[in-house]
């Protein structure tokens, strides 16, 4: 893996993080914490991994990315805008009346959004459906999906986990944003999902555990996942909620609270 690629992806992740801060600050609401924790994964996906065409968002052969933890919409919107799906200026319309950037992603209005999400626990099922369709159509696209760790408390996630293994959906690659926090507190205290990696293994998935903020590890994990046959793959990404902004890191309160103007300024200064 080229060092320039990694440096470039790090730059993209930083830009995405800056957008997340600016967007949520402008909106006065939204979810910075879980958006920041996923920024490196989403940057790697949109700037290296996913096969797609911003000029033809509905290209049937494209790879799909389903943001199952839909509250992290800002990270998705930032990546889509940076990738050229819509103008970067539009990011500042987040959550405003009439905006295509709804509080949670709406696939019908915003190009590049593959699934409307927001009600947690549903994205993996949709990803499985897309993967089944790929198989029926003889297409070789892959479906990626990002789950929150708190989200995996939803029973439906495990219905989908079972189904993906049962139908041997090796064209499904999931990331778990294992940031350890949800709304009411640490996931371990609210309702533990541990041992997370072992659970996915037991459900028949290929499982890797990586540092979710290390672009090189993310790319390598996806390459490894691509080689797996007959099984879906879970990449447990160890992450820090609020990553990149010191006063937001590991702070449960920054799950669903927008930075005030002075906080946003401080955050942007830190991000550089």
């Amino acid at each position: 893996m080229k060092q320039e690629t990694i440096a470039w992806l790090e730059g993209k992740a930083r830009e995405i993080r800056r957008h997340i801060i600016r967007m949520t600050a402008a909106a006065g609401s939204g979810h910075p914490g879980g958006s920041l924790s996923a920024a490196d994964i989403v940057a790697a996906l949109y700037f290296h991994i996913l096969r797609l065409n911003p000029n033809w968002p509905a290209w049937p052969g494209r790879d799909r990315f389903v943001l199952s933890k839909g509250h992290a919409a800002p990270v998705l919107y930032a990546a889509l805008a940076e990738r050229g799906f819509f103008p970067v200026e539009e990011l500042l319309t987040l959550r405003k009346l009439g905006s295509r950037l709804q509080g949670h992603p709406d696939m019908k209005v915003l190009p590049g959004v593959e699934m409307s999400t927001g009600s947690l626990g549903q994205g993996l099922s949709a990803a499985n459906g897309m993967a089944l369709a790929a198989r029926l159509d003889g297409r070789d696209y892959r479906v990626f999906v990002l789950l929150g760790d708190g989200e995996t408390q939803e029973g439906m996630v495990w219905e989908a986990a079972m189904a993906a293994a049962h139908y041997k959906l090796d064209n499904v690659t999931a990331f778990l944003d294992h940031n350890g926090l949800q709304i009411d507190g640490p996931v371990r205290e609210v309702m533990s999902v541990e041992p997370a990696a072992d659970k996915w293994k037991a459900f028949g998935w290929d499982v890797q555990v990586i540092d979710g903020h290390d672009a090189a590890q993310i790319l390598r994990a996806v390459e490894t996942a691509r080689q797996v046959e007959g099984r879906p793959q879970m990449i447990v990404a160890e992450t820090v909620k609020g990553k990149g902004v010191s006063f937001m890191e590991n702070q449960v309160d920054w799950h669903g609270k927008a930075p005030k103007p002075e906080e946003a300024e401080k955050a942007l200064a830190e991000l550089g």
């Binding site: 049937p60 699934m115 009600s119 549903q122 990803a127 459906g129 897309m130 029926l136 159509d137 079972m162």
Partner: protein, 313 residues
Amino acid sequence: MKKIATREAYGEALVELGKENPDVVVLDADLAKSTKTIDFGKQYPHRFFDMGVAEQNMLGTAAGLAAAGKIPFCSTFAVFATGRAFDQLRNSIAYPRLNVKICASHAGITVGEDGASHQSVEDIALVRSVPNLTVFIPADAVETKKAVMAAAEIKGPVYIRLGRMAVPVLHEDDFVFEPGKALLMREGADATIIATGIMVAEALSAARQLAEEGLDVRVLNIHTIKPLDVGAVISAAKDTKAIVTAEEHSIIGGLGSAVAETVCEHYPVPVYRVGIPDTFGESGTPAELIERYGLTARHLVEAVRVTVRLDWK
């Protein structure tokens, strides 16, 4: 009169549809033998997915299949399709207007012996309130087949309510099913029975009995609950000045409510709702249950007699 359950007709329609359209895929949640999707599964095994006892995942998977261009038909009992998986129906299917057909069988109390846990008395109320959704409730086997074909043509989510019990065949095979159009089954000037699903046959039978008493009763078949044929309902109010609704569903939130809402807004006349009173069902034979919960032609006759006598000033 020949009797066929609407779920049987659904199973046959799916097989036909599968032949015509390679994009049609079918999902079930471990009830394929009851919902009759098994026939499709046998014919087209690679396009049939049993998702196990996991209704939420079934609807979510169907959403993904539709997002990738397939036309998924999903079946389970109406109780589970709308109750267990309501959020999936709402958020993963209806909100993104995905091309998923939810064909829910064993609706209403004519499920019979399985009892209240399996008898959906509130599914119409649930699906009727969801934006973007089209809702069909076929009255017989012929209507079911046509409704399934029509659903496949509609680009968007459709809910089809099907029954377990064999019901009379009311239509000839060449019957034309027009989505969103109330079907005039019988003309009349003194009152209108607005019926849906298995109650259409009861309504016709009631109208015949009332004719002997000199009451001339119109019968409207509402096979499309949503979008409702508002014009036909208003005309019924204007022309006949008395309406009785008939559905195998709670009197809260279903056809009766839809008709009352429409009539109140446009042309208030007495509306009497025949349906399951605000209660859960219980075990029994279908015939015993429709008697006990007041869903027979006899009950409709009573209701019409009372409603036409109401002096409403």
